[in-house]
């Protein structure tokens, strides 16, 4: 008898819960139906009619306007700022946005586009260069182990489509759900291929422990898969207002440097180039034959691989020690030079310190932070 009462009570509760869920779902659709909203971008330059209810970041992405973001809309990177001049998002900064917006930015109506929902017509200001960013559904045609933890991805763009980028720039690579990861995530990767090759992209991806996107690349991605990328992004590209380019990279940081080296050569630019490539051990080195070949064919290019602790059996004949030591010893001054750096944060800050001590300035040192 007691069991029957309990069963009936549980059944009733389940029924009530079910009905409530349906009511909430309907209410959400009815009450949160913002209908169509008009987005005016850059004072009439673009006028879009969109369905309300989603974040501004994803709404714009749906309209093929890609605002840079490193966290995928989770308010932990603060990169997706746009100016909201009027509409629901104007002047109402949320607590999740506060740490990312300076007083000046708040006064200029900047918001994190991932935190604003499109609920009404809005007037926005968006940097014009972002309109050049496009999305491509590519086919992975090659997936190669360059080292034990770095893979090279070769992506073929859809037939008839091309990407125009400056050597050194990056794309966002979108992963697919796998394992515990139930949603798409995206991360930035520098393009390692030649800027002249417009129908393919190559990326170098180093496996990061517990990394969302790199684990997908290293464990789930297969040749033949469709891969979504957007780009190009970034301010890391050749300025060239100098005689010599000092390039420093570690690990997968080699990617944009490779693209830059080919760019200088293919355009017939006169710059001398010295590329310091740092690795912990000999097994961390890759593209060695290719850079040796470039060095042989183009006297303007010097390749200096540096191995911190070469394995005894590797019979390493090159520079031994940290790449920063080679940089310190072999670069005399910043006169007539620009520096292009890509690597881990520790390597970057050590290199910047050395370069500044030699007379390089913030205007002659270029690097990407991701």
């Amino acid at each position: 008898m007691d069991f029957m009462i309990v069963a009936k009570t549980v059944g009733s509760l389940a029924l009530v819960s079910g009905v409530l869920a349906v009511i909430i779902s309907i209410a959400d659709k009815v009450l949160n139906n913002y209908g169509q909203c008009k987005l005016d971008i850059n004072q009439g330059q673009k006028q879009l009619t969109v369905e309300g209810g989603s974040s501004l970041l994803s709404t714009l992405a749906g309209q093929k306007i890609f605002i840079p973001s490193a966290c995928g809309g989770k308010a932990t990177c603060g990169l997706c700022k746009v100016q909201v001049l009027s509409g629901v998002g104007a002047g109402q900064v949320l607590p999740t946005e506060e740490p990312y917006l300076s007083e000046k930015e708040r006064a200029e109506n900047y918001r994190l586009s991932c935190q604003i929902k499109v609920k009404s017509d809005m007037q926005l200001l968006i940097p014009e260069e972002l309109f050049n960013i496009r999305e491509f559904i590519c086919e992975l045609v090659e997936l190669e182990d360059m080292t034990y933890d770095i893979k090279r991805l070769r992506l073929k763009l859809p037939p008839g489509e091309e990407i125009s980028f400056k050597a050194g720039q990056f794309v966002q690579l979108y992963s697919k759900p796998y394992g515990k990861v139930k949603e798409e995530v995206f991360r930035a990767y520098s393009i390692s291929s030649k800027a002249s090759e417009k129908d393919h992209l190559e990326l170098l991806v180093r496996l990061v422990p517990d990394g969302l996107c790199t684990t997908w690349v290293h464990t789930a991605l297969k040749v033949g898969d469709q891969v979504r990328v957007s780009g190009p992004y970034g301010e890391f590209y050749l300025r060239g207002d100098c005689e010599e380019l000092i390039m420093v990279a570690g690990g997968s940081g080699l990617a944009p440097i490779r693209s830059l080296v080919y760019d200088v050569i293919e355009k017939g630019l006169p710059h001398k180039m010295r590329f310091f490539f740092g690795a912990n051990t000999v097994k961390d080195l890759y593209y060695m034959e290719e850079f040796a070949r470039i060095e042989k064919d183009y006297p303007q290019f010097t390749f200096i691989p540096c191995v911190a602790t070469p394995e005894a059996e590797a019979n390493w004949q090159g520079e031994t020690g940290f790449v920063t030591v080679a940089l310190e010893n072999q670069v005399d001054s910043g006169q007539g030079k620009e520096a292009y750096l890509c690597g881990s944060p520790g390597m970057l800050s050590a290199c910047i310190r050395i370069l500044k001590s030699k007379g390089f300035t913030s205007d002659t040192i270029f690097f990407d932070e991701f």
């Binding site: 990061v208 517990d210 920063t324």
Partner: protein, 159 residues
């Protein structure tokens, strides 16, 4: 304990596959505030503050960083840091970001090892968050304090 709305939102992004592959919570079902308060109780009993712990971790990581990937002998410990390109935003959304850097520390006397990331240091130092039980980067406050030989007689506990 009921989870407050802000913590409930933070908790979503701390789950596996949101910001990092395995997340920050492991299999811990407790509300965020309870995870933090229970760990703070543990530290209070030990008379060690999370700030002091974070600082001790950071000092070891800095010694590892100076060796740029090589294992370094600091006297009591062997320290090795490994760096990757990029950074991670703090899941508490405080606009702080941490380099993708992991530190592995070996106690020379016992052979015991612990590892942490730069984000772990920030989470402990600023938020008293040692991560949920079952998280790969969970550090038990008591074990961490013992490992770091804290409290030290010459260093009073912080209020």
């Amino acid at each position: 304990m009921k989870e407050n709305p802000r913590d409930a939102l933070l908790r979503i992004d701390m789950e596996a596959g949101r910001l990092i592959k395995d997340g920050f919570l492991g299999t811990d079902p407790r509300p965020l505030s309870e995870i933090i308060s229970q760990d703070l109780d543990t530290l209070a009993a030990l008379e060690v503050s999370h700030v002091i712990l974070g600082e001790a971790m950071r000092q070891l990581t800095r010694k590892g960083m100076a060796a740029m990937g090589e294992e370094v002998d600091t006297g009591d410990y062997l320290v090795k840091t490994e760096e990757y390109m990029g950074w991670l935003g703090c899941p508490f959304k405080d606009a702080r970001r941490a380099a993708k850097r992991n530190t592995r520390v070996t106690d020379k006397a016992t052979g015991q090892q612990m590892r942490w990331s730069d984000l772990s240091i920030h989470l402990i130092e600023e938020h008293a968050f040692f991560q949920g039980k079952g998280s790969p980067f969970r550090l038990e406050p008591e074990a961490l304090a013992a490992f770091l030989r804290l409290p030290r007689p010459d260093r009073p506990a912080e209020a």
